[in-house]
Subunit: 111 residues, 2 copies
DNA sequence: TTACTATTTGGCAATATTGCCAAATAGTAA
DNA sequence: TTACTATTTGGCAATATTGCCAAATAGTAA
């Protein structure tokens, strides 16, 4: 695989990496219903404000969210809402894995 | 946020994390066209066989792929093909980010 | 058994991520 | 100016990820 192919894959991986954290998934799902400021998100998540701010900057650098300053607050909003479509498929993975587990358990019991 | 909500988010994050690596994205896209054995994938990717094997086990533990043994080979295949839908949206993020960059450059030039 | 191929696992060093505290920055209002 | 609120940034320790080499495992065939 050549350099060019790797950097295209790196660019995609960077975006998925930005999403691959529980707090950031929470934020993205919360922004589905509209913009939120850092303080409001911090209250919901229960991590330090600075930690939430850093998570938001990870999402921003990835291009998933943008922010709008108003007074002393920053309001973050989803830039590319199709990101929300991911979670349905993620649930499918979880369900399909649970099904497999159940089949294994059943096979054991039937012996 | 309570424990239960966190573990639901952790479960989702684990699946996105499994996808968030260039070599694993390559593998998932390659498996779109059908199962592949470790050796064939190693040849395409250019990493050590043991590294590719570990990447495959990450995808397998996440529930994204499964494997089928035949002789001394293991053939891996996609378990939940909706994962492939992610990449279209990931491209949208990349395009939307590029558009934003262009607008910034244009705004500078017009001064 | 031996020789061969394919894959997986153990271990480890290099690197990246996370979350906190403390401090810095910036806007508002008196 | 000072006091206040909201957010971001720097730094650091704890933890997780990655990729290699070497060794282990397992199937096939003589």
């Amino acid at each position: 695989m050549d350099e060019k192919q790797w950097s295209a894959l790196d660019a995609r991986a960077a975006i998925l990496k930005a999403l691959a954290h529980p707090a950031r998934i929470f934020i993205v799902e919360k922004l589905k219903d509209g913009e939120q400021c850092v303080n409001a998100l911090t209250g919901m998540i229960g991590l330090d404000t600075s930690t939430v701010s850093k998570h938001l900057s990870v999402l921003k650098n990835a291009g998933i969210v943008s922010d709008r300053k108003a007074g002393t607050s920053s309001y973050y909003f989803l830039r590319v809402p199709c990101i929300l479509d991911f979670f349905g498929c993620v649930e499918q993975v979880i369900i399909s894995r649970a099904d497999q587990q159940n089949r294994i358990v059943l096979a054991c019991k039937q012996r």
